[in-house]
Symmetry: C2
Amino acid sequence: MDPDLTFPVWSEERRRRIEDFLERGLALPHAPAPLADAMRYAVLGGGKRIRPLLAYAAGEVAAADPAVVDAPAAAVELIHAYSLVHDDLPCMDDDVLRRGKPTCHVAFGEAAALLAGDALQAQAFVLLQSARLPDPAGACALLAEAAGASGMAGGQAIDLANVGREMTLPDLTHMHRLKTGALIRAAVRLGAACGEALDASAQASLDAYARAAGLAFQVVDDVLDVEGSAATLGKTAGKDAAHSKPTYVAILGLAQAKRHAHALRDEARDALVPFGARARRLAEIVDRIVKRTH
Amino acid sequence: MDPDLTFPVWSEERRRRIEDFLERGLALPHAPAPLADAMRYAVLGGGKRIRPLLAYAAGEVAAADPAVVDAPAAAVELIHAYSLVHDDLPCMDDDVLRRGKPTCHVAFGEAAALLAGDALQAQAFVLLQSARLPDPAGACALLAEAAGASGMAGGQAIDLANVGREMTLPDLTHMHRLKTGALIRAAVRLGAACGEALDASAQASLDAYARAAGLAFQVVDDVLDVEGSAATLGKTAGKDAAHSKPTYVAILGLAQAKRHAHALRDEARDALVPFGARARRLAEIVDRIVKRTH
């Protein structure tokens, strides 16, 4: 950790790290070229890399070497990327624009996109084991739980079952805790697990941070879906309403949804108090999450 | 290993083990019910469990406790099951019958089947880490490599790219070495890795067995697709020809394809010679693979 770096300089340096690592991790010399191309298309050249940044920032809390964090940071990003590829498929959200580019199935065909997503999930576990993690088996279990039926995939299933239905605020929050929250918590936990062992209280604090920051991210996403344009978002705007998806804005209204995002940011920052300056990057990330415009 | 058991008794006992383990591993109390239902539907109540049997049989070569083999055996079966769910989707093979039942997307809808497949892949890694494996991180990497772009998913991509095209025998063999062979090799390796450490020569022998047995399985599959009926196969017969898929029968003719299967069985059995009686179950399995009618 270099405390002299401004957040933009720190985050840009970490983004370069993860892009390099992802490039190398998706070289895939033994994979058929069309599959490898679709996988790289889905991952490289775009994306905020918020999950990798969270992993590096959580690593700093535990004084982890960024070179160890690379692998779990990339693994979490591949899980995220595969979920976007499958989410965009015609049988799911049927979306044509992602990160300012045609979605994977528009560019490569549905079957190729399906396989690329499947292979990205597997590649996440390949990359995860490419580092010298203190507890590689625990990391595998943690990532798998976060990605699976009790985590991200479970949240997507709840989302799917509720299209066109009214949802209460607790139900919506539960859905997002699984759909996006589980992977964000995994990013924070895996990053922290690359460094010195943290006690149970510190782990609980990090978890509280990740839960609040993850929800803040989702609330802001819902706000931006209403207020943003495709040009700044790099994806189709207004699609939640078009798909009759329950959102924080629909339940709370725009002004209250924004206040909710700020309250979650405060909750996230409060959880970081025990860590002092070592949690500076985590604090800066949740600030940026709430301030972002795309 | 109990040498007094006949193969049908041994394999039935192992099948009961794996069914029990899969039932428990798919209880999923924290997953949304519709997702968990689709996952269980795709896995339970059918299937030859050839990969789990191979894992148990390979475990016997290394004197492994079957209670340790349960987890990797189940993990490999979940990867196989998820691949079938995704393979059957309309954008892939568009198949309606599997194991004598409507395919997962026919029963649950396309989006739910897509998510069930995704969650099954993740659950494979959850279950893999539920055992006390000698090298759990190595097992994670091995399974991920076998499932991913350089393994099963890569083979499916090659398959997809060659529908309606002529393939040479070496190309077809390369495709199957990835598409089905990689996971079969993983089943054998993971099973053996549950016991005493094997030297490099023994591992190479097991690998040679798995490669030959895996190809034999595929050649027989192609023969059955021509000779079988939906009633005995539990899936749509003749679908390879209907989909203009390259097969061993198309390239070699029926009689020569059968001879090829027998040659591969002999190759697999030859590779087991160094293990003597400890490889009895592996030998019996490849015999059954070549004799099977569905």
